[in-house]
Symmetry: C2
């Protein structure tokens, strides 16, 4: 989670919403790390989770990341939660809850739907204060509406 | 929707789940068209809707597709529905309902959540029979588990 927090801080420094993510292989090797790049890539889907899923899938040469674990500083939105399901991520570790835009414990509650065909093990509250403080600081300071 | 159906047929011919999508600009010009490419790209996020959103955003140089309309042959899943919201798509036209994996009228019902910050106008039932027949034929015939 320390690496994911580093990515969140780097995203904030670029003017992006400060969220960072990491994917580890089944044996614990680092496959991918990224922060949000929505503005830099001019891509509304470029959330940290999507970037690490796509990078890790490219790295292992499969659309399924069986046995891989994803760490992210904030509760994933519905887009990212569904992508985590589609990618067959084994364990999801996230930092702070996101009451406004989260899709795991809030909103669409993706993994709680009958139509969810793969649900990872979910652990939350890691480095929660740091992740939340990063977000709060960002939204307090930002001038950009991105 | 005819163009989206063509993309769905091409996806089926490649062995992909037969879903196709198109994005039109506010003035009705074609910005992007794609079929599912999950297997070809080895990317679990490469649904037709995601590909056209990313391509259209790259084309117009903005992470927001204000005023653009998206046509897709099947009810979007939760990932694609949330991406449609994030991209600020104006109108969503889709063909057949997807009771198994849909995220608009089924599952996470993304656009019905309080946490959904942008909801497109939604129209469904276009070329419904053709879109559904393509899917049914594909799942009847396929040997691949992709």
């Amino acid at each position: 989670m320390a690496l994911a927090l580093d990515e969140a801080r780097k995203a904030a420094a670029r003017g992006e919403v400060p969220v960072g993510a990491v994917i580890l292989s089944p044996s614990g090797d680092l496959l991918a790390q990224a922060g949000n790049e929505v503005l830099a890539r001019k891509d509304p889907t470029a959330h940290a989770e999507m970037l690490v899923i796509r990078a890790a899938a490219a790295m292992i040469g499969s659309e399924r990341l069986n046995g891989c674990d994803l760490y992210v500083t904030l509760e994933p939105c519905a887009m990212c939660a569904q992508a985590i399901s589609l990618a067959r991520i084994r364990r999801l570790y996230y930092g702070a809850d996101d009451q406004k835009s989260g899709g795991v414990r809030h909103g669409g509650r993706i993994f709680s739907q009958q139509s969810c065909h793969h649900k990872p093990d979910i652990y939350s509250g890691f480095a929660e204060r740091e992740a939340r403080d990063l977000l709060r600081g960002f939204f307090r300071d930002r001038r950009d509406t991105g």
